[in-house]
């Protein structure tokens, strides 16, 4: 939240960015594969600029507060109510938004008529009841990822969504992150060739705990660490990354094998602090997924391997196979001009051939400066798409336009996370259950 002063411009810049992407040759067709972005344009922002989405926050812990800070910078959003059943969290939020009404029971909040949409940032086990109750109460809903804590809960939400005319968003923020959008466009245009593998990892060196004022609050505050309220590293971290794999391949994995253990943080927690899994698509492409929270050397990366190149979406960098390092001299020439200098650049030589690999050279996905998430924050970082997806939701609260593919992507990613947990629990290869396949999923 450090650079909140320029959030608005960042947000508008994403809208402009999307508009520009649609203008390049073939861009419209490629953007057509990201239909959730189609309404996120500068023109749409202009249309709703005199209106306000009246939103309420259910859950005002760290992530809820993060959303509040983002909402302050969304001109078409107004926070009218706050709800949390943990008094210190509610108090912290109320101090930020003194004019908002406060609730300790979300069902009471849902009765209020002056609320267009709710933003749910609760422990995972509360997602399904809160989403379903909110939709039933006629509210538009924005819910944190993952979708829910079981296959059936995900399916219940998905089914309810088919019946409702309300908007439902899950915070799959990578879908609104410029690096990912542009990177995916590059992947789908064939830049790195056929996708042959996905390597995803998320490493931290932190106990994943929050301080607990008194012991009886342990499970309430550290809900992430217990199976009754959390699905561990898979839903909290892997959900974003598995979504990226599906986005890149256009498929959903058919099966998964894996192992999960508590390697280091033997402090009474239940969920694994170390997971290693292999997901397999029908074309035999595999995702290797690894997360460990007792060593942060490797940080976080979403790596898509192509026959012709490698995309590091989290870092916003790609590398080409068989690319000979050798400067074209242009960078030097540009620097020279910038410094008002005129000297020779080393450029001439026999034909430069891409087939003669020496090393890999990093190329930025985006021009100019951009933000990179090192993966270490437990709350969220600036400009990772979380603000933009919330902005899009607030826009949708006004227009009533459903966000295309967002629920489906959340469903696909979350169910794969749950499948992974099942594989680790049962120590065998688990196939995606037929009864939970939805038409959107391609296997």
């Amino acid at each position: 939240m450090s650079n909140k002063n320029n959030k608005n411009t960042v947000d508008l810049s994403l809208r402009q960015f999307i508009k520009d992407l649609g203008c390049v040759t073939g861009g419209a067709a490629l953007l057509g594969t990201m239909p959730w972005l189609q309404s996120f344009t500068p023109a749409a922002a202009e249309e709703i600029k005199k209106e306000k989405a009246r939103v309420a926050l259910i859950g005002t812990g760290s992530r809820g507060l993060y959303h509040i800070h983002n909402l302050f910078l969304i001109p078409h959003a107004e926070i009218v109510a706050l709800c949390d059943d943990y008094a210190p969290n509610l108090k912290a939020a109320a101090e930020l938004v003194p004019k908002a009404r406060t609730y300790t029971d979300y069902r009471k909040l849902l009765e209020a008529k002056d609320i267009d949409g709710v933003i749910i940032s609760s422990p995972l086990n509360w997602h399904a009841p809160m989403v379903l109750d909110s939709l039933a109460a006629g509210k538009h809903v924005f819910c944190e990822k993952a979708m829910a804590d079981s296959f059936q809960a995900c399916k219940d939400i998905y089914d309810a969504y088919q019946e409702t005319d309300k908007v439902l968003y899950f915070c799959m923020q990578r879908m609104f992150d410029e690096k990912y959008i542009k990177g995916m466009q590059m992947i789908h245009s064939g830049l790195i060739g056929e996708v042959v593998g996905c390597r995803m990892h998320w490493f931290r060196n932190h106990n994943w705990r929050r301080p607990v004022p008194s012991p009886e609050l342990e499970r309430k505050i550290n809900w992430r660490l217990y199976w009754e309220s959390s699905q561990g590293l898979m839903t909290e971290l892997a959900s974003h990354q598995l979504e990226v794999c599906n986005w890149a391949t256009g498929l959903n994995p058919q099966s998964v094998m894996g192992m999960g253990d508590i390697v280091y943080w033997k402090d009474g927690r239940e969920v694994y602090d170390s997971v290693s899994l292999v997901y397999r698509y029908s074309n035999h492409v595999k995702i290797t997924y690894e997360s460990l929270i007792s060593n942060k050397f490797n940080g976080m990366e979403d790596e898509i391997l192509g026959k012709e190149g490698t995309m590091h979406l989290a870092s916003g960098v790609y590398y080409m196979e068989d690319e000979k390092i050798g400067k074209s001299g242009i960078e030097q020439l540009l620097n020279q001009i910038g410094n008002k200098v005129f000297t020779a650049i080393p450029a001439a030589g026999p034909s430069w051939r891409p087939e003669t690999r020496k090393e890999y050279q990093a190329h930025n996905i985006l021009k100019g400066k951009f933000d990179v998430n090192d993966g270490f924050s437990m709350i969220g970082v600036d400009n990772d798409g979380s603000d933009a997806i919330l902005d899009a939701f607030c826009q949708a609260c006004i227009t009533g336009e459903k966000g295309k593919d967002i629920v489906e992507e959340a469903y696909s990613a979350t169910t794969q996370c749950l499948l992974g947990n099942q594989a680790m629990a049962e120590r065998r290869e688990i196939f995606f259950p037929e009864e939970y396949k939805i038409p959107y999923m391609k296997f």
Partner: protein
């Protein structure tokens, strides 16, 4: 083709366009003293033109016109597009100007039969294919020169895979565009410096990891000498053909050179 990218540096009014791979190599263009809009429009035309030419001349693309010609011309005459017909005739002209050294068949150009009435081409033997490696970049550069002229862009620097570099007008702070050639076997060693002003520098030679790609058409022998030849010409096609021919030729260099408009030619030989 891979993703084309571009950027505009407003303070210097400089536009840079880049294609990581086209016609088997990479392409960089720098336009100086242009507005962002002019840069963008010129770049769009350039990308379209390069893609179009790639579709004619890239033999590694199975659907290109040259690939279709290579695959079909032995069975019966293959009708070619007007532009490709002109290109083939241009290559025929260069074949004659270089006493047969410049040869897109890399074998025997007389095996290519031209059928004027139908604008079609046939091969006398099955084992023949055309390779425009020593021509296409020059042809493309001339086309781009035409685009720049039409767009009234007076100052540009184009690096087409290092081996073909065109300087038009001048550097914002100089009287032309200066480039160095470095020893491909010892990249830290500068061999020479050239200033290009409305001229093209074309370089042919071997590199440490790409040797013996130059074939003498008469003997069929591969040339693995450690040398390179730099040619500065006004016309990019002339430059391509001259440098390709001179690196392949052992004798008669002077005879070839006199057929072309005056050009600056420098040959570098490396001991190691």
């Amino acid at each position: 083709m891979l993703e084309a990218t571009s950027r505009y540096i407003a303070e210097e009014k400089v536009f840079h366009g880049f294609i990581p791979r086209i016609m088997g190599t990479r392409f960089d263009i720098l336009l100086a003293g242009v507005s962002s809009a002019l840069g963008e429009s010129c770049w769009a035309l350039t990308v379209t033109e390069l893609q179009r030419l790639d579709k004619i001349l890239n033999r590694f693309d199975a659907t290109s016109e040259v690939s279709r010609l290579n695959g079909n011309a032995f069975k019966k005459p293959f009708a070619v597009s007007r532009e490709f017909w002109d290109i083939l005739n241009d290559c025929k002209k260069y074949h004659q100007m270089t006493s047969g050294i410049f040869d897109v068949t890399l074998k025997d150009f007389s095996l290519v039969k031209f059928h004027e009435e139908t604008k079609s081409v046939s091969f006398s033997i099955s084992d023949l294919s055309l390779d425009f490696g020593g021509y296409a970049k020059g042809y493309a550069l001339e086309k781009i020169k035409g685009i720049l002229k039409k767009q009234n862009i007076g100052h540009a620097f184009i690096n087409f895979g290092n081996s073909s570099i065109m300087g038009i007008g001048k550097h914002p702070y100089g009287n032309g565009w200066k480039v160095n050639i470095n020893n491909p076997f010892h990249p830290e060693k500068v061999l020479g410096e050239f200033t290009l002003k409305n001229a093209v520098l074309t370089t042919s030679g071997n590199t440490p990891d790409y040797t013996e790609h130059i074939i003498h058409p008469f003997s069929g022998k591969r040339n693995n000498e450690k040398k390179c030849i730099c040619v500065i010409t006004n016309n990019a096609c002339d430059g391509e053909v001259l440098s390709t021919s001179l690196i392949a030729s052992h004798q008669d260099k002077q005879k070839i050179i006199t057929k072309f408009e005056p050009a600056k030619i420098i040959e570098y030989k490396f001991v190691n």
